[in-house]
Subunit: 287 residues, 2 copies
């Protein structure tokens, strides 16, 4: 099974979306669909096929971890401006996987107790255990994104955090976790359209927060903060991936492809029995 060959990708998503040396966020077109020939209908077909593949790979990963055959796990980190589609990714991509294999955490504004600790304290508690796919809806990167834009901490503390994040992610990786960091990239105009739709529909009002418009005023500063975060924390062991997200079908397919290719890289196998199969059959038949 290979994500690229099985579906319509012309290249690996892990290659084409990766943030490497010299990357500039300003050069990424949020309308684009790199690596995929495109088309909403074709995208939907691909997504369904990919879901079946993801389902199999996840079950194998989980099974392998039950008998200590692997310490591998996956951590998907989702960061984005409001309305960029994190929720849709969780619902349609993560949601296609058996919930028993998913460890999902939505990080909100830190509580008083969380603020009293180092910024990684609450993150450590939600790191996936072997065999699991962890998903962070927002993450420790908030502490160098809104943290930087809104000066929620002194400048030297923000600086310290980039190094602390790299150390943390290196430790996770050494322990068997594949860290997949995704920024969903929409344009400022697209955000306006999506916020307007929430205002137009009474069943979407609950998703609208007047504070979102305040953050929107700081768009350029946020893009700068993302650029700096990429430069400081896109490492060999835990690179960033920027996913153009104005087209929802593409963003979902791209994140699914990143997960598929990561699991294919692990290549988990069904564990062999740790008991005598024939003896167990005899025992079971007898009673």
């Amino acid at each position: 099974m290979n994500a690229k060959n099985q579906r319509d990708w012309s290249v690996d998503a892990l290659d084409v979306l990766r943030v490497d040396e010299g990357f500039r966020l300003a050069d990424v077109d949020p309308e684009s669909s790199p690596g995929h020939p495109g088309g909403k209908a074709r995208g939907a077909d691909d997504l369904a096929r990919g879901a079946a593949g993801l389902d199999q790979l996840q079950e194998r990963l989980f099974a392998a971890s039950r008998t200590d055959a692997t310490d591998a796990s996956v951590l998907l980190v989702l960061q984005a401006m409001d309305t960029a589609g994190k929720g849709g990714i969780i619902r349609h991509v993560v949601g296609s996987v058996d919930p028993q294999g998913i460890m999902l955490t939505a990080f909100k504004k830190p509580t008083q107790e969380e603020l009293a600790h180092d910024f990684l304290w609450r993150i450590e508690k939600r790191v996936p255990t072997p065999g699991m796919i962890g998903v962070f809806d927002r993450s420790h990167y908030e502490d160098v994104l809104i943290g930087r834009v809104r000066s929620l901490a002194p400048a030297d503390e923000i600086e310290r955090r980039y190094g602390a994040i790299n150390d943390f992610e290196k430790r996770l990786t050494d322990a068997g976790t594949r860290v997949v960091k995704v920024m969903l990239h929409i344009s400022r105009d697209e955000q306006r359209d999506r916020l307007m739709e929430r205002l137009d529909r009474p069943d979407k009002h609950w998703k609208y927060n007047p504070g979102d418009v305040d953050e929107r005023e700081l768009w350029a500063q946020y893009m700068d903060a993302y650029q700096v975060a990429f430069e400081r924390t896109s490492t060999d062991y835990a690179p960033w991936y920027v996913v153009p997200a104005n087209r929802k079908w593409y963003a979902r397919l791209a994140v699914q492809a990143l997960l598929l290719e990561t699991l294919e890289g692990i290549d988990p196998q069904w564990p062999t029995a740790t008991f005598d199969v024939d003896a167990e059959k005899a025992r079971l038949a007898a009673g």
Copy 2:
């Protein structure tokens, strides 16, 4: 929207599966499909339609809780003998819901730290917050099931627990949680067939545990322990439901119906906007 009318149920699952005064587990046929005209194909259609209804109701419940419009939540407790299909229920029924609205916990053999506390200590920590659907894969009932059968605690401690469970569930209910306690009921012969299938398929070996056959020897004692638990803890505020589970299509449909009817009972509504919609539209259009 009404679960009974929308689909093929002739009665409410909440009524027909409920454990009332005089209930005897020994009288339930695990092959039966009470309240549903039956048929695997028809069941699959119903399950797909039910998933769409569940999806809508869950989103409304979640939305209503975001603006303090409700403190309601749901807690689905799943108990069963091995192979009865808890995993399938989680995958196919719970798995059809947006993962952002689900709080799933699989309770394993207690750790040393958990054993050092009262048996409800680890349970309390995983109670669903408002707007969420909590799911317990095994639960505090293990402490009066295997706890009783294997004498893991003194007899008077087991006796104490029934009352403690009722007090706990009353408190949950008073705080807005609908507690839906489900026992999936298979026959001993069906379990043998399912265990044998796990032994026949190398990709299922990881699900087989020789200890399962030891528990199987205690089948009658387990059925007695369930009967006592029903008599002591099936209350007005938190009744038990026994779901015949030899037919997987029926068990899934029945648990889905229990969830649907419970959510319909809550009848969550889209919350009204807490901001001036027109003013926000103007502000958004301007920037």
